[in-house]
Amino acid sequence: MSASERLTVKTDAPRGSRSLTPGPGRWIGRVLAWSVIGVFLLFFVVPIAWLILAPTKTARQLLLDNPFSFGGFETLAANWGELMAFQNGIVWVWLGNATLYTGVALVITLVVSIPAGYALAMVEFRFRRALLVTTLIVMLIPNTALVLPIFLELSALKLVGTPLSVILPFSFFPFGVYLTYIYFSTAVSRDLLNAARIDGAGEFRVFAQVAMPLATPVIALVGFFSLVGNWNNYFLPFVMVPGRKSPIQVGLAELLSNVPLFNPTTAGSVTISLPVLALATILSVAPVLVIFLFSQRFLVSGLTAGGTKE
């Protein structure tokens, strides 16, 4: 937080002086830079814009009208009504489930991976390297290969079908351990920690009182990626929990299967039209984006709080 402010403040002054004498080369560079950013912004935004407009149209308008035309608020309301009518608003149940699963998993992930990453980065012990390699390899294993073993494990523990069967695997997040590891090994000065040790603080206190406050950015980062990854995970909850316990992604797939375009053999029982699906999609994405907006400050305020590193 403070770091980025410092950055903007510091760079403000030279910019003022430089803009008085902009060389032609600099201008070309700037235009080039802005156009690259602009092109990529379009690349990222155009599809989203289309998606946001989609629920305001009827299925027919969606097919025949200009892609970026705006349909109408009545249509939007009608589509909303149709989505809510689907199995008596089960969409809220799905969202609630997803919130429960990802929320609990988030807490467990943070409690486990932050200390683990810290230990890997700070503590010298015999199997450190081996453990790092193992973590990395686990990350490389294709998920398909892990589904059966995880399923059998949880089935043996009689957990299949319960929220725990989703939450526990969700909480296993080597990516987070790794991020924390890199953060602590690059951004936090060991001198700072050593100083604390010399002051007589025990390892635990060093971690809790010195390292943790410095770790806010990486906690935000790990937390955010865990949240998004789990929110969007389809396959694991799909095999673990049935029907009304499904989170939103499995629910979306169920909606999709009721669109005749994708499942023509059930077209006789049309229940969901494409604009309604688009609406559900937006609804499913909204929580993630809101969280992103609120946490962006922490996410990018620089993984720099470590301060004294030179």
């Binding site: 097919l63 025949l64 059998l152 169920e254 499942n263 023509p264 006789g268």
Partner: protein, 451 residues
């Protein structure tokens, strides 16, 4: 760090337990299952009054709810899932996992696909087949005889019926009465007349069409199946795909000819260009009965005026059997692992043959009585020209039996080979060898003997 270690230890322990459990289960599932002569398969220990779990898709949920209301004494837990929608394979994926863990199976499953018996009726990795055989003492013969002829054929393996058909989707010939009158054409009754009509239409009224070949379910189920082309045949465990059969050759020629003169288009019937360009240009089009709601009556699709379209008897080859194809139709399965087979039976009879089920069915019910009720209700709306009920009923009873139901879909190969080839401007005849190879390859990896 300590936490990490403890977690690891817990995981290792859990895996070990899991491995042991699997070993133990594999041991008992393989050997001790004794066939219960009342049912014709090895039943689980029955627990009267235990809750049955029923998996349905969103469209079938109302029937399950209706059952719950009508039978408050039968404990039932309704779970909705994607209905095993095309390509998702949910049903098989989940059962495969339950087979591995040895527990957790649902009691009743509704699937929107017709070919699940190909795997559900088989023992896999030593675990008893998921689907219970229904005609070996479980359901009464009277009840089973109430289904439309051939309705349960796709789920019949070696004389055992493993599933009950929910709805039928026979192919009929849809036609636009107004356009036929305007052009002075007759409704074609044979493939030969249909082909001739194509030439005439292309010459006299270019731009008007007689169907689409851009959908893989149309290419395969509507045209080749309806033409009695044995390109997808299964006999026991032997799969064959004969493109040299006169029926196959004739259909390939018909399609290529009509694609060339423009009376068959390549756009999917669900696509924007089709709706935009051809909604009012369809003179006649063979297609499944569910086109009624999905295309003609659908305000987002063709959205026809009442009285414009009608359904006629399906097309056949002149002088040959009057048969047709079929596109889909859902199936109910009972689990052979169920602990409350009585409740399952009550449920399935309700879901397929009750009056409520006829009312709630979105497709043509497979149970004769229910079908009749359903068709009367449709005919009352008087949306369609001609004798809708008679045409659909005739089609429902005359689906060609030579088409196979292996564990893979013919649509995949059509979509992967034929659709792109057509887009490149090739003819179907050009890619027949490639298409056939693709089908046979798929059959082979699924473990069929290929002829």
């Amino acid at each position: 760090m300590a936490g990490q270690h403890r977690r690891k230890a817990a995981r290792i322990l859990a895996t070990a337990t899991a491995a042991l459990t699997v070993a133990a289960l594999a041991g008992c599932a393989g050997g001790s299952g004794e066939v219960n002569s009342d049912y014709g398969f090895a039943t689980a220990d029955q627990e009267d009054g235990s809750t049955i779990t029923v998996w349905v898709d969103a469209a079938r949920e109302p029937v399950a709810k209706a059952f719950e209301e009508a039978n408050p004494d039968v404990p039932i837990s309704i779970e909705t899932y994607d209905g095993n929608a095309g390509g998702s394979g949910s049903f098989q994926t989940k059962v495969a996992l339950f087979d591995q863990s040895g527990e957790g199976w649902p009691d009743v499953v509704f699937s929107t696909q017709t070919n699940d018996a190909s795997w559900a009726a088989k023992e896999t990795n030593g675990v008893q087949a998921f689907a219970a055989p229904l005609n070996k003492g479980y359901f009464s013969d009277d009840f089973l005889a109430g289904f439309t002829d051939g309705a349960n054929d796709p789920m019949t393996v070696d004389g055992s019926v493993y599933g009950l058909r929910n709805d039928l989707a026979p192919v009929v010939l849809w036609y636009n009465q107004k356009l036929l009158d305007e052009f002075g054409y007759e409704i074609p009754t044979t493939w030969e007349e249909y082909e001739a009509m194509g030439e005439k239409l292309a010459a006299e009224h270019p731009g008007y069409i007689l169907g689409s070949i851009g959908d893989s379910f149309v290419g395969t189920y509507v045209y080749y199946w309806g033409a009695q082309a044995p390109i997808f045949a299964l006999d026991g465990n032997t799969f064959s795909s004969d493109f040299d059969d006169p029926h196959s050759v004739a259909m390939t020629e018909l399609l290529d000819g009509m694609a060339a003169n423009g009376t068959l288009v390549q756009d999917s019937v669900f696509s924007a260009p089709f709706v935009e360009n051809y909604s009012d240009k369809i003179v006649a089009m063979p297609g499944p009965a569910w086109y009624a709601g999905a295309l003609f009556q659908n305000p987002d699709s063709v959205n026809a005026e009442p009285g414009t379209f009608g359904a006629a008897d399906p097309l056949y080859w002149e002088g040959e059997d009057e048969v047709t194809g079929n596109v889909g139709g859902g199936v109910w399965y009972a689990s052979s692992h169920s602990k409350n087979l009585d409740a399952v039976e009550t449920f399935l009879e309700f879901a397929t043959s009750s009056e409520e089920s006829a009312e709630l069915n979105s497709g043509l019910p497979a149970y004769d009585e229910a079908a009749s009720t359903w068709l009367d209700a449709q005919a009352e709306s008087a949306f369609f020209a001609g004798d809708f009920k008679a045409a659909v009923q005739k089609a429902a009873g005359s689906v060609w039996g030579g088409w196979g139901f292996p564990s893979f879909s013919p649509e995949t190969a059509y979509a992967a080979v034929v659709v792109p080839a057509l887009a490149e401007g090739k003819t179907i005849a050009d890619v027949v060898p490639e298409w056939q190879e693709q089908i046979l390859n798929e059959a082979q990896v699924q473990g069929y003997t290929v002829e």
